[in-house]
Symmetry: C2
Subunit: 153 residues, 2 copies
DNA sequence: TTAATATGTATTGCGCACAATCTAATTGCG
DNA sequence: CGCAATTAGATTGTGCGCAATACATATTAA
């Protein structure tokens, strides 16, 4: 009879895997965000892009990608949809014709006001204190950064 | 001059958002998993399905969906690809013709052995102790379950 | 200045994710 | 029993996410 590696099997159990915890929580967040973002006419990844632009716009696509860990294959069509919705404007940089600079339109700026109520709704849904969430966030970000560090090697 | 709600703007900052921490960590995990799962011929969601089947197979699609928080729109094509790869077999239940039961093929069972080394590689990449990861996992799962509870209302 | 290389974005193809809709099978209720 | 309501999967359409590739611009080296 073949001896099975019990420890390895425990590690393969779905409920023991932090990756699945993260994966399924990301989906849960997405589902909670959906009705809130529908009112803004945004998807969740589009919302993330808008968050970066509300902090600073007139930036090249690459900067947004670096901020969100996304590449041009994802961002180019997403940004075109935001442009079609008249939330942003895409213009080639005159300094470096390779770059496309992303600027908010007045409609894009205006959406910032409507978005201010979103975090409060999410906080309520999470049923946590701000302190608890921020502590968890720091732990998760630390994990993410270690994972990304391995990728960079 | 219009007074801006400073607290709300802080809440909208990307780096303060736990949802983005979770979202970006899920992507980081996916990227770390990719080379490992490529060797098994699986994508990450396919790997999750196989994890559930290695625990128990011969189950209807709905059960897998309940386990992974995925619906038939996602699972049906994914399962067809696993079937095309000869890892699973899909058969209509004779008891309830509405159900499609998912069973592992011998090749699907055999893949279990090759998969046993995966968690160790992920653990190494995360650069954490098992204890730290399990503690984080429990916190994240608790958050996920609270988010899902709100959705169920 | 030209040739080689690097960089920024766009495109294509594949595989999720999910809403909405559809079909078929089952259950429940009068 | 008979029909409405429910349930399980499948299908369609939209939008990521990423690998691979293409292409134009920019930089560097010879």
């Amino acid at each position: 009879m073949v001896r099975k590696p019990v420890a390895a099997d425990q590690a393969l159990r779905l409920d023991n895997q932090i990756c699945f915890a993260v994966y399924s929580t990301a989906h849960a967040f997405n589902r909670v965000y959906k009705p809130l973002l529908d009112r803004l006419g945004l998807t969740y990844p589009q919302y993330l892009v808008m968050l970066t632009l509300w902090e600073r716009d007139g930036v090249p696509v690459k900067d947004i990608g670096a901020r969100l860990f996304l590449d041009s294959g994802t961002l180019t069509p997403l940004l075109k949809r935001l442009e079609a919705a008249d939330l942003i404007k895409r213009t080639r940089s005159s300094e470096d014709e390779r770059q496309v600079l992303i600027a908010l339109t007045s409609k894009g700026h205006a959406l910032h006001d409507k978005a201010r109520s979103v975090p409060q709704s999410i906080l309520a849904a999470s049923d946590c204190t701000v302190g608890e969430l921020l502590a968890m966030k720091d732990e998760i970000v630390a994990l993410r950064d270690r994972l990304n560090a391995v990728l960079g090697e």
